[in-house]
């Protein structure tokens, strides 16, 4: 028997065999689709996890982490008001209002804050986190409060409602209106928030 004869017989015998590959083809397809959707599920789960982490991070920052400018305001209040670091202050209302106007803070805001039962003592410009704020000092019942104002900016991203935070020994509250970002600082627990709530009511009318 020659090689050709042998090969021909072998081929003829094996290739004549009935082979049903439909079940196998279906199994392969199912497994490929299964892995595809499995992979897709992982992608969706990972995306959901990332979205959740971002949402939690935003929520945490919004509710628990005070804006850095509040921290800077509390430190500034402690340094300049509590410890009385020497600074050049303006005490004349019209001079303070003129100064405020140069920084885009409506002069009426200063007068309106004076209608809340707190008395304006003095004012000056200061830097908080490299931004210029109008620093006003009000008093009530022998206690002094700092109010920091500046036109609304996207950097601060405050809330319209008053948020209260304790930073060291100082009590701080902050909010924003359509026109102003405002930070209130006092040295008694809850006092700054009370002033901020009163201030919020009048400043939103601007």
């Amino acid at each position: 028997m020659t090689d050709d004869n042998l090969d021909q017989r072998l081929r003829a015998s094996i290739l004549s065999e009935d082979l049903d590959t439909s079940r196998l083809a279906a199994a392969v397809r199912n497994q490929i689709h299964g892995r595809r959707s499995h992979g897709l599920r992982w992608v969706v789960a990972a995306a959901a996890g990332i979205a959740l982490a971002i949402a939690v991070s935003f929520a945490y920052r919004a509710f628990f982490v005070p804006p850095s400018v509040c921290v800077a305001a509390a430190q500034d209040h402690e340094r300049e008001i509590v410890k009385g670091a020497p600074r050049h202050w303006l005490s004349d209302l019209s001079a303070i209002q003129s100064l405020a106007a140069t920084r885009g803070v409506p002069a009426s805001a200063i007068a309106m804050l004076g209608t809340t039962g707190y008395r304006l003592e003095r004012g000056r410009l200061c830097f908080l986190k490299k931004q210029i704020y109008l620093h006003l000092v009000y008093s009530k019942d022998g206690a002094e409060y700092s109010v920091y104002l500046r036109p609304v900016t996207s950097e601060a991203a405050f809330h319209h409602s008053v948020r209260e935070v304790s930073i060291g020994a100082e009590d701080s509250a902050y909010f924003e209106t359509d026109q102003l970002d405002a930070v209130f600082v006092g040295s008694h627990s809850g006092a700054a928030a009370a002033f901020a709530r009163a201030g919020s009511r009048v400043l939103t009318k601007l």
Binding site: L10, T21, V28, I32
Partner: protein
């Protein structure tokens, strides 16, 4: 699904049970699907699939070294020659059977078979020669009967 029958045909002669053969082919196709980026366009896709299948087969530690059961090879009993050839094929060593299936039945050249099996071409050629010789000897009595 292209080349599935060819893969299954050879797999059934490597593993003793049809289900093992189907598992082997299924794993081969999945690996091919996953590693399709590794396939060079313009090269022989059939040889590439066979190479994957033999890699899987050898990667499984060749658990199924005994020859496939003849009764499970889906050979119709009335075809006496088919049975004889299947018996003769099963009597060969796995190495000889593999080379014979690739070169004679599936039509690969010795060079292609060497690429699939990762062997020197000389080894493939000598295995093929010995496989043909042993197969010829096994089938000789049958041939005598047939020609009588």
């Amino acid at each position: 699904m292209p080349h599935l029958a060819a893969l299954l045909r050879v797999a059934r002669r490597l593993t003793p049970e049809p289900m093992s053969a189907e598992d082997l082919v299924q794993e081969t196709m999945l690996l091919a699907w996953r590693g399709f980026r590794g396939f060079e366009r313009g090269t022989n896709a059939r040889a590439w699939l066979f190479r994957i299948m033999f890699n899987v087969f050898h990667g499984q530690g060749r658990r199924e070294l005994r020859s496939p059961e003849l009764s499970l090879l889906d050979v119709r009993p009335r075809f006496q020659e088919a049975i004889e050839i299947a018996e003769a094929l099963n009597a060969l060593s796995l190495e000889q059977r593999t080379v014979l299936l690739l070169c004679v039945v599936e039509g690969f050249t010795c060079r292609e078979a060497a690429g699939i099996l990762d062997l020197p071409i000389g080894t493939v050629m000598s295995r093929l020669s010995r496989a043909r010789q042993e197969l010829r000897e096994s089938l000789a009595p049958m041939a005598k009967v047939a020609y009588r």
